[in-house]
């Protein structure tokens, strides 16, 4: 698999100054400023292969957008190296931008006051797309995104869902081999999200388009990406597959036990097994927490069924959001890093 994006020791520092409060503060700011260095991206390295769909996630302010802006040539890194599609994004900007597509969920790339189709025409001129190719691609996009209905509406009058569909189409009009999406599904309803995901999958399958997307919606990752990178405080915390991440972090599981009556409840309350913590959920149900490497679920269930009369048993898995929350808040990965299957270092 040839690599499309190579990033090595990427660093971006911002120099900001703390603005003082009030009018007098503003006057003081004029002649003396306390500058502060802020490292938004801290020594990030990775490569992305051709046709990969990679999710880039992290809490607000983690350095995702700054990374994307360096990868797309908007920002010049403080140090480090990027080669994407064979170009240095900020040095060979004009040639490089011909080979990429960029979607910003928060900000449209289309011209605000004119019909969508006029924006597309302008893009056709800018990227020198032949009429035949333009027609072909627009027809193709219409199949999934159903663009034709609002092609003549000014962008400012579109709903967010419609606008996003147009933005994604606009970014792919010149058939770039590499696509960056910064929160492409932010604020969209489930139908619009689904439509955009289906479209992205189809484009990836048909044209082998490499995609890097940032998102806060983890179902985007589950549906689209085979690989995810988790970034926080400018550093990559995890780089690998979603199943591996789940296996790594879902080591603690819980078994919910519903019981027939109070006598049984008393029996279960007294139940003990090494590595299992018994917690009362309500009057007739208990939650047993255990670590997967210490306790075999099958063994646990066998013993429970032997000792108490059980109404129902449910294995409770943490939702992916919970896993990611634990990474963001620093509960996971830092102490679990030694058990990581690949690449994850705190």
């Amino acid at each position: 698999m040839p690599s499309v994006v190579e990033v090595e020791n990427l660093v971006k520092d911002f120099r900001t100054f703390d603005r003082r409060e009030g009018v007098w503060g503003a006057i003081q700011d004029l002649y003396s400023r306390q500058y502060r260095n802020f490292r938004a991206v801290d020594n990030v390295s990775f490569t992305i292969g051709q046709g990969e769909m990679v999710g880039y996630i992290g809490p607000n302010g983690a350095g995702k957008s700054t990374s994307i802006k360096m990868l797309t040539g908007i920002l010049v890194p403080s140090s480090g190296r990027i080669v994407a599609n064979g170009y240095c994004p900020w040095r060979e900007r004009t040639r490089y931008t011909r080979t990429i597509g960029v979607v910003f969920g928060q900000r449209t790339q289309l011209w605000w006051d004119i019909g969508v189709v006029e924006s597309f025409r302008l893009l056709q001129k800018i990227y020198e797309i032949s009429q035949a190719e333009y027609d072909h691609r627009l027809a193709k996009f219409d199949e999934v995104l159903e663009l034709k209905r609002y092609l003549h509406t000014p962008v400012r009058k579109l709903s967010l869902g419609e606008r996003m569909r147009c933005d994604v189409a606009a970014a792919l009009l010149h058939n770039p081999p590499l696509l960056f999406l910064d929160e492409p599904t932010i604020g969209l309803d489930i139908v619009a999200k689904e439509s955009i995901r289906t479209f992205l999958k189809e484009v990836n399958r048909e044209y082998g388009t490499t995609m890097l997307l940032t998102t806060h919606d983890l179902s985007d990752i589950e549906e689209l990406c085979h690989r995810l990178m988790i970034i926080d405080h400018g550093k990559v915390l995890y780089d690998g597959g979603l199943p591996e991440l789940k296996r790594m972090l879902w080591r603690e599981s819980a078994l919910k036990v519903d019981l027939r009556d109070r006598d049984q409840a008393a029996l279960l309350a007294a139940f003990s097994m090494p590595g299992v913590a018994v917690e009362r959920a309500d009057e007739l149900s208990y939650r047993l927490r255990f670590r997967r490497e210490e306790v075999q679920p099958a063994e646990l269930i066998r013993r429970i069924v032997n000792e108490v009369q059980v109404l129902d048993l449910t294995m409770e898995e943490q939702p992916i959001e919970e896993v990611v929350r634990r990474i963001y808040t620093g509960e996971a990965l830092h102490d679990d890093a030694h058990a990581s299957p690949e690449g994850a270092r705190p």
Binding site: K69, I74, V76, T94, T97, R107, E118, I126
Partner: protein, 262 residues
């Protein structure tokens, strides 16, 4: 060639935008015309009684004023984005989008929007030339129009280069620096005979912020004023220098662009 066709596309698209808001466009055309007429009236009221000011007759000053409208209106046609650059492109981060297109940033900034109303000033300038040229002994022949075209293009380019240098400052200073409006007002000084000013202002308008090269010197050349001819020949060189400086400062600024938070 590709850039030219792209500029034309931008122009067509932008005209559509403006025509989409018809009422706004019409009001703007009318107010701009009133502004220009008021300018002409002011020149008339101030100068028509004075027979000769530092060797310049009223007709010559009027001719100078009309001719000066040509590069000025061409500059106004293209410079609309420079006024809002710091506000819209830097502070709001709209420059991100500009950087994502495979077209030089300057082409996009200068040609994405136009002040179409400025073409009214061009028309007015031509009318003034038409009226005053016979009175100052200039024949409106092909040679004249060719020279006028060259001076207009060079003058407008010089204006643009000077303001680009000033605009590029906002890449380093994110504060809304009010450096452009006062300099813009200084442009008017370069459209009267420089002889009427004292030496400091004359030197300033010739060699520091050389507005005199865009307005005054070409007309002095056309009117055959003594000792002024050499300046018109310097116009291409001055324009080229400032343009090179502007592009250099601009490109450096682009590298320093820091975008917004999200």
């Amino acid at each position: 060639m590709r850039t030219l066709s792209l500029i034309w596309q931008y122009f067509v698209q932008y005209s559509k935008v403006r025509l989409a808001y018809r009422g706004d466009f019409l009001t703007s055309v009318i107010t701009t015309m009133f502004g220009a007429l008021a300018g002409i009236a002011a020149v008339y009221l101030i100068f028509h009684r004075a027979p000769l000011i530092h060797g310049w007759s009223f007709d010559e000053i009027f001719f100078l004023y009309g001719f000066g409208l040509l590069p000025l209106s061409l500059f106004n046609l293209l410079s609309i984005n420079l006024y809002f650059f710091s506000e819209v492109y830097i502070i709001q981060g709209k420059f991100d989008r500009v950087l994502l297109r495979p077209v030089h940033t300057l082409v996009q900034i200068l040609f994405e929007q136009f002040r179409i109303e400025a073409l009214g000033d061009t028309l007015l300038g031509l009318v003034v030339l038409w009226i005053t040229a016979p009175k100052v002994g200039i024949a409106l022949d092909l040679r004249f129009w060719l020279l006028a075209l060259v001076f207009t293009v060079l003058g407008a380019t010089l204006y643009l280069a000077i303001f680009l240098c000033l605009t590029a400052v906002s890449f380093w200073m994110e504060d809304r620096v009010g450096i452009i409006p006062p300099v813009y007002n200084m442009m008017a000084f370069g459209r009267y005979p420089l002889d009427i000013y004292g030496t400091p202002i004359r030197l300033l308008l010739s060699w520091v912020i050389p507005f005199g090269f865009a307005g005054f010197y070409p007309v002095a050349f056309l009117l055959g004023k003594d000792g002024m001819l050499v300046f018109a020949w310097l116009l291409p060189a001055v324009t080229a220098c400032f343009l090179a400086l502007a592009v250099m400062v601009w490109n450096r600024g682009v590298r320093n662009y820091s975008s917004t938070g999200s």
